[in-house]
């Protein structure tokens, strides 16, 4: 417990002219759940592909279990389970054939667990993967990713486009991986409520750079959402210290800001207003403030 499972140092990656990752550093320790959030194209999938060796690090280093996934694919991949949004499972295979094939490739395969999951999901083992719906493919891919009890589970947007039932199955698998075996989970998602529930650590990637990374509760604690009421009427949001996002109009504004409450309160009072209420910001509010477009940014532009 507490050992480093993944270590990414100053990773940069470009595809032609586009920079996908710019000096990204990331660390994962055993037994924790890591949530990666970011807009589409922010670089989450690129980072995860580096962990699997699908992409080779041209600048910076990537180590999983202390090994380089490019020079030692066996050492890394035998202890990793992977499920991606695209579910690139061979179309011609049947579900039971996929189970048998994965079992042969992974000595740690738990046949009882696999069978239990097949039954719970209600999958017909004799059906070909190309005949399965998107949700069932995700379930099949999930079984082959978790049934060998990997030390590290990597999920790339696993829930996208799936109904609530399948999403619940995926979340359950994450919980069981961590609770039962003390395994590590790294998952990327744009469903922020999922990330907020399931992550111990959250990392926000915006345009290839890590803008936020830390223990979820601490990250949330660093940002607050406060309601302020001003004596005068404002057409455009007034400039306040540490304010990242302002919504509302006239005299009452809702502000997402960083920094301690006292500092913000002083800044508000200086502008002739008062803080009516204040609470920790939710992950969605932080995400929108850091990675989205805000009126304040647009005004500044």
């Amino acid at each position: 417990m507490g050992q480093t499972v993944v270590e990414v140092n100053d990773l940069s990656r470009s595809f032609g002219d586009e920079t996908a990752l710019d000096g990204v550093s990331f660390r994962a320790t055993a037994g924790q759940v890591y949530g990666l959030v970011g807009a589409n194209g922010a670089g989450k999938t690129t980072l995860l592909k580096h962990l699997l060796g699908l992409l080779s690090a041209t600048s910076g280093s990537v180590r999983v279990f202390g090994l380089d996934p490019v020079t030692d694919p066996v050492g890394v991949l035998s202890r990793v389970g992977y499920l991606s949004e695209e579910h690139e499972l061979p179309e011609w295979m049947r579900v039971d054939e996929l189970m048998r094939y994965t079992q042969a490739q992974r000595p740690t395969w738990d046949a009882a667990y696999a069978r239990e999951l097949l039954e719970t999901f209600g999958l017909d083992p004799a059906r070909k993967i190309k005949e399965l719906s998107r949700g069932m493919r995700a379930q099949t891919g999930l079984i082959s990713a978790v049934a060998h009890r990997p030390e590290l589970l990597i999920l790339d947007e696993p829930s996208s486009g799936l109904d609530a039932v399948v999403r619940r199955d995926i979340l359950d698998a994450i919980v069981r991986a961590v609770a039962d075996d003390g395994r590590t989970v790294i998952f990327s998602s744009h469903l922020l409520d999922e990330v907020e529930r399931m992550s111990d650590h959250v990392t926000l990637i915006h345009q290839g750079r890590v803008t936020l990374s830390g223990v979820l509760d601490e990250v949330r604690g660093a940002y607050r959402r406060s309601r302020v009421r001003f004596a005068e009427h404002f057409d455009k949001p007034p400039v306040l210290e540490n304010a990242l996002l302002m919504e509302g109009g006239g005299r009452t504004w809702s502000v997402v800001h960083s920094g301690p409450l006292e500092q913000f309160r002083q800044s508000v009072t200086a502008r002739g207003g008062e803080v009516v209420e204040s609470r920790d910001a939710t992950l969605e509010e932080i995400f929108l403030a850091r990675a989205g477009r805000s009126r304040q940014q647009q005004e500044a532009a």
Binding site: S56, V70, P73, S84, P90, Q103, A104
Partner: protein, 312 residues
């Protein structure tokens, strides 16, 4: 013809005891059986055409085309892309499913190449055997038309027996040598095509540029035959061998450095290379070196290229 139903006939469950045998099963099911079934289909088609040619003359030219085109087609079409590289839009890649299996690149390349070679060989034997057996039906063909003075069937039969002597020889050991040569030929072609498709997937621009340069160089040599010094032309085999040697050395070093090659794999490749050289004896020193390097380079290049595609 529903391919799926045909393949269902060969449904063997995936072996779970060994990862390597599971990989062999995977390769057979994903591409190998297709090669075998088409080979079988072609063999049946050839026999059908020759048999129909006995009563119906219009079938005869098709029968000849099928034989003369069938065997080379089997090798080229079925031997290509043993690594299963797909193209989607502008990208060429191997599927993430295969790339994330806990299997070393050299072993993956080795299994893919060997399974494909075996399937191509079996398909070749089926097609070749059918061609040889069916073409004997030409004896029953008779004249092709009312004014068939040239006696086309007779000419064809003579060509057939001449080919027979060439391919199978008169002695037993000549036949054995031909078998070994065919084996080596298939191995080299499969490895070379696989390496090429992998290289093209990753370095298409560089390949096209170097390919164009090479063609220009060869063209220059051909045109300058009359006024360029003879020394260049006599040195050419040495230059080629030196280039092959340098390339092989480089890819061996790079392959080991990146762990794309393993000693086991390279030993296998060396055995094939030496066998090829022995089969091509006797010859000059440069030609022997050439016959060793010619299979060695594609065999070493194939996993190196696969490694580059797998880890982009």
């Amino acid at each position: 013809m529903n391919m799926d139903r045909l393949i269902t006939l060969f449904r063997i469950p995936c072996p779970t005891s060994s990862a390597t045998w599971a990989q062999v099963w995977f390769e057979l099911r994903s591409s190998g059986l297709r090669v075998l079934t088409f080979g079988l289909g072609m063999a049946v088609l050839i026999y059908f055409l020759f048999a129909m040619g006995v009563p119906y003359i219009p079938f005869r030219p098709f029968a000849i085309i099928a034989v003369t085109g069938g065997v080379p087609a089997t090798v080229l079409i079925f031997a290509r892309n043993a690594f299963g590289i797909r193209r989607k839009q502008k990208r060429a890649y191997i599927s993430a499913f295969e790339a994330t299996q806990p299997c070393g690149t050299a072993q993956l390349a080795g299994v893919k190449l060997l399974v494909r070679m075996a399937c191509v060989l079996v398909a070749m034997v089926a097609v070749g055997g059918s061609a040889w057996a069916s073409s004997s039906l030409m004896k029953a063909w008779g004249p092709w038309s009312a004014n068939d003075t040239k006696n086309t069937s007779q000419t064809l039969l003579q060509t057939r027996s001449a080919l027979e002597k060439d391919l199978f020889g008169t002695e037993g050991y000549e036949f054995a040598l031909q078998v070994v040569n065919t084996l080596l030929f298939v191995i080299i072609v499969v490895a070379a095509l696989a390496a090429f498709s992998a290289l093209f997937a990753r370095y298409s621009r560089r390949l096209l540029v170097s390919g164009s340069l090479l063609s220009l160089w060869l063209l220059a040599l051909r045109i300058g035959r009359d006024f360029l010094p003879q020394a260049i032309y006599s040195a050419m085999p040495w230059i080629v061998v030196a280039a092959l040697l340098f390339a092989t050395g480089y890819f061996l070093w790079s392959g080991f450095k990146e762990r794309a090659l393993t000693t086991g794999y390279v030993c296998g490749a060396v055995v094939i290379a030496v066998a090829n050289a022995v089969a091509c004896l006797p010859g000059s020193f440069s030609s022997i070196l050439g016959t060793v390097l010619l299979p060695l380079l594609p065999c070493v290049l194939a996993p190196w290229a696969l490694h580059r595609v797998r880890h982009t």
